[in-house]
Subunit: 245 residues, 2 copies
């Protein structure tokens, strides 16, 4: 179960649709709308959601904030913090960590977003366990509602994502063994000796090292080595042919 997303008095159908799309992008499905300022259901929201019908169709409308969060046990609102309120102010990353920790304990969680222009009123903020403030450019800090939902949904998903930071997709072919790589490099050097490219003795070692660095840095596959062997053969052959003219 991913947390519920509670939109309080959303004003634009486009934003509800964008929020629904962002939710489903990261596996959230429980959308709750507190007194939306548009008619609901909304065809415009459905269009903007680009196919997140499961979220749009499942969205529930509530008459009050208290009703919308009644069954939840942990709620965190994204908003600018009211200075007069003593309340934990946490980052999106800390918000994701808190939600995952709470859910691991079996607690029902929700993320709350206030109205587009005014943000969540203090009376609703004070009922939240923590307030999440997104650290933005202080001169241009207001995020679009759909963007804020996306950011939090991503942060929640990212916290438990196990995708390797970097992989080299090599398709059908494997990354070449060092033997295969060295065999290509040696052949290249033989050909370069033959054509005189490595003819200056005191520069030869450095040049060979540079060439080896070029072809070692990018994890060549066996298929790519075969291509490079072919390129070398062709260049050598053409050179010979031109030499004969």
């Amino acid at each position: 179960m991913t947390p519920a997303i509670v939109l309080v008095e959303p004003q634009l159908a486009e934003n509800i649709g964008a929020a629904a799309r962002a939710m489903l992008n990261f596996g959230f499905t429980d959308l709750r709308l507190v007194t939306p300022r548009i008619e609901w259901p909304s065809e415009r929201a459905r269009q903007t959601s680009s196919g997140a019908d499961i979220v749009i169709d499942g969205a529930r409308v509530y008459r009050s904030f208290a009703e919308a969060v009644a069954d939840l046990q942990v709620i965190i609102a994204t908003c600018h913090v009211a200075r007069e309120m003593v309340k934990p102010q946490i980052t999106p990353t800390a918000t994701a960590a808190r939600l995952h920790a709470a859910q691991a304990e079996g607690l029902a969680c929700g993320l709350v977003f206030g109205p587009e222009r005014t943000g969540l009123i203090n009376a609703d903020q004070v009922l939240c366990d923590a307030l999440c403030t997104i650290p933005t450019n202080p001169d241009f800090s207001s995020l679009n509602l759909g963007q804020a939902v996306l950011l939090l949904a991503w942060e929640y998903a990212r916290a438990v994502d196990t995708t390797p930071a970097e992989v080299l997709r090599t398709g059908e072919s494997d990354v070449a063994s060092k033997q295969h790589l060295l065999s290509f490099l040696t052949r290249l050097e033989v050909e370069l000796d033959a054509c005189g490219f490595l003819r200056v003795p005191h520069m030869r070692a450095a040049m060979v090292q540079n060439l080896r660095a070029i072809f070692t840095r990018n994890q060549l596959t066996d298929q790519e080595l075969r291509t490079l062997h072919g390129v070398l053969t062709e260049l050598v052959t053409k050179r010979t042919w031109r030499g004969e003219v």
Copy 2:
């Protein structure tokens, strides 16, 4: 200098505007458009950017991908990876790390986003240093263009953000010292002894511990302790008054 954001053949003014807004939210200003499918400048894009005029006005239009990235030294594209292409596939977090590392070396960087429906063509992908794949719900993986820009801009900003994970905003008042807290707790227990709430001897210790846990868990401020002292005084006074009737 934050990285350039390169949008290749964007189709919708709303998406360019949303991208510009998301960029400025996290301090990006260098927007580059490769043969946009709408007229540029675009009033609709400006409206959607909600005041990110500096990004919209500074945006440059290019006739080709090669022109748009000509001055850049490291470019990473967000896209689904073409299976037939041997290319590093990295996460958004790894993308941010790579960009920060490159910029620390003084390299000019860019983030590339393909057209909304089709994504970046292979001929452009292959010129990128790495491909960033956003790990999404496999059943609903397509992110809105503006959302994708926001996600990467956030990830870039997050990587160097120093906001404390959690702070308690206490305003004018400090978090109470343990002496002040204990003084309130002791007074509460004296009053509860007086009214008989703690009368069952074998339960007294556990009850006192529970009450102390309640009021210790939430880091009360001095101002809040004064409020609670006032509440206690009022409750005791009213009880006494009612007792006199």
